[in-house]
């Protein structure tokens, strides 16, 4: 049984620290989520545990962390459902050549650069229980992800959602996230198959079969929710509870199939009806508790696992700097190069690259999975979290420098604007 006093105390402290940090970061024109990520790190061994080890041990005793983790993971399951809810397959289909090229290059460039870096880091930060292929693919997936909700929030705050730049960025980020999660699913299958002795084709076949069932079977049934909502203007409490159960069942299915709980919840979100009012309604039902309570617990748990003191000495900080450099060069540089080759003005292309370099919360989710399956070491985890913080933090100021007012006013074609307008509902919820 959890020590309820400790657990409730932890929750109270985490919520207060995250709210305060989020508010302070908003004052320096950063999305609230960046402040909350920093707050999580501050509560961990990197600051609180270092400055006040006895208080830290009292507040976060090792025996209590399992409960904190369980609560935070429930939050991430719902968060991934909300991210999936914000992704509109119609929008992905309607991309122009420029967006297709940019989105694909913004995955391959960081992926290949990260794999090159893996050649250097593997003998230094990994061990022989991890296969190089798993290590390199994980590094690639982790560096090629874009924080779709945070990016949408940044665009929303800058009134750039309907701009040409905003439209392409949202579409590319959505493609990146879907691709990144598919690659990550493959890596998990690869690692778990080798541990469990299950043939990889069996696991992959099961996953593909489940995805097809969801897309072509369950998705049609889900339209009844939208029809009911259209008739009554709301869903009954039972129906909302049923949606939640579907998310959990889908998560359990992907876990049982050998990938991860989060893929199921993401997939359930992705196949939900995309009518704007319906999406907004569901977000209103799920976002408050997730954003104000459960996600801060996830940030705190991530912070408790992040130990910057493991990154010590010139050599380790050099690795950390290389990771930040490669991640930025791959994502920002790759997106910028591709979009300029596709005809986008250089300044605008640089703005797009900066937006795509936002990793935020999605990166933390991926890194936690990597640490859980032990494909990355604790020191590398801390370095990658540092990279996620830096690349997310730099987005707003760099964008401010790069994007003058006329760029914000450059409007996307009407059809695309309408399509995009469906998505950013999510940004207000989880990208705050």
């Amino acid at each position: 049984m959890p020590n309820l006093f400790t657990l409730v105390l932890q929750i109270a402290v985490v919520v207060v620290v995250c709210r305060v940090a989020g508010t302070l970061f908003q004052k320096i024109h950063q999305p609230r989520v960046v402040g909350e990520m920093f707050a999580g790190i501050m509560l961990g061994p990197s600051l609180l545990g270092w400055v006040a080890p006895h208080f830290s041990a009292y507040l976060f005793p090792a025996s209590s962390l399992g409960f904190l983790n369980a609560l935070s993971q429930v939050g991430v399951i719902i968060f991934m459902f909300l991210v999936g809810l914000g992704i509109n397959p119609r929008e992905l289909k309607s991309q122009g050549h420029a967006a297709v090229l940019t989105s694909h290059a913004s995955i391959t460039a960081p992926f290949v650069l990260a794999s090159c870096l893996a050649l250097y880091l593997y003998p230094r930060l990994s061990d022989d229980s991890v296969a190089f292929t798993s290590f390199a693919l994980f590094m690639g997936a982790a560096m090629s992800i874009t924080a779709f909700p945070v990016l949408a929030r940044i665009l929303s705050e800058r009134n750039m959602l309907g701009s040409r730049l905003g439209t392409v960025a949202i579409a590319c980020a959505a493609v990146d996230d879907v691709t990144g999660w598919c690659i990550l699913a493959y890596i998990i299958v690869l690692i778990r198959s080798s541990h469990a002795g299950t043939p990889i084709w069996l696991t992959l076949g099961g996953v593909v079969g489940f995805a097809l069932l969801m897309i072509y079977g369950v998705q049609r049934a889900l339209n009844r929710f939208a029809i009911s909502f259209e008739k009554r203007g709301e869903l009954s409490e039972n129906m909302v509870a049923f949606v939640l159960v579907l998310v959990l069942v889908s998560a359990l299915c992907t876990e049982a199939l050998g990938i991860h709980l989060l893929f199921g919840s993401f997939l359930m979100g992705a196949i939900m009806p995309k009518e704007q009012k319906f999406v907004r309604y569901l977000l209103d039902r799920f976002e408050t508790v997730t954003v104000t309570l459960l996600l801060p617990l996830f940030f705190a748990f991530t912070g408790l696992r992040t130990n910057i003191t493991l990154v010590k000495g010139f050599e380790m900080w050099l690795y950390c700097a290389l990771i930040v450099l490669v991640a930025t060069a791959g994502k920002l540089g790759g997106s910028m190069l591709a979009s300029s080759l596709a005809g986008m003005p250089v300044r605008e292309a640089a703005g797009l690259g900066t937006l795509m370099n936002t990793r935020g919360l999605m990166e933390l989710v991926i890194l936690n999975i990597g640490l859980d399956i032990r494909v990355i070491s604790p020191a590398l985890f801390s370095m990658m979290v540092t990279m996620a913080l830096i690349t997310t933090f730099m987005t707003s100021p760099v964008l401010e420098l790069l994007c003058p007012e006329e760029m914000k006013r450059a409007v996307a074609p009407p059809e695309r604007s309408r399509e995009v307008a469906l998505n950013p509902a999510t940004s207000n919820a989880v990208g705050n």
Binding site: N69, Q73, V76, H97, V100, L101, H104, A105, T108, A109, F111, V112, S115, C116, A118, L119, Y122, P123, R124, L125, S126, D127, D128, S129, V130, F132, T133, F135, A136, L137, G140, R192, H195, E255, H260, L261, L310, G334, L337, A338, L341, A342, N368, I369, D372, I373, R374, S377, P378, A379, L380
Partner: protein, 164 residues
């Protein structure tokens, strides 16, 4: 094929298709790389038959044979925790070395050296299943103090795969 489409295809091949081939090359090249021997995990310590108990000098520092060692590994860097005592160390090849100190500052017991730390030296058995370590715990700066030879067996993985 229109000029626009031709340019798109060229750009796509250069920025997407070719890098994927490059990735395959990188993954092949990486197969030959050697990473440090894995000692990450929780280890159950058993003293060698000749000694059987922990010398009083080491007990005074908080070392106990019934407390498992937890090793957290990042490449060749190790963080070792054994209850009331812990420290950082290195693994070179299959040999690991780590000075362990009590978490709280303690005065060294009489005739137990003046350093108040224990040196852990061990060798990992290559490709053993379950993984094994054999080595010695000795008091730093105390050549006359008794050392303890030990074997350690890695406990079944405690990783939380799928338990998130």
């Amino acid at each position: 094929m229109s000029r626009l489409n031709k340019n798109f295809v060229i750009a796509y091949v250069s920025l997407v298709v070719l890098p994927i081939f490059g990735l395959v090359g990188i993954l092949r090249r990486g197969q030959n790389l050697k990473a440090p021997t894995s000692v990450d995990g929780v280890w159950t310590i058993q003293a060698a038959a000749t000694t059987g108990t922990m010398p009083s000098c080491m007990s005074a520092l908080g070392l106990a044979l019934d407390t498992p060692f937890t090793i957290s590994q990042s490449g060749k860097n190790l963080v070792i925790n054994a209850g009331k005592i812990g420290g950082t160390g290195l693994i070179e090849g299959t040999t690991l070395q780590a000075p362990l100190k009590p978490a709280e500052t303690l005065l060294p017991a009489p005739n137990c050296g003046d350093d108040g730390s224990v040196l852990l030296t061990a060798t990992a058995a290559a490709k053993a299943s379950p993984r094994m370590l054999s080595g010695e715990l000795s008091l730093a700066n105390c050549p006359s103090c008794e050392s303890v030879k030990f074997h350690a067996i890695a406990q079944a993985s405690t990783q939380k795969e799928g338990a998130q």
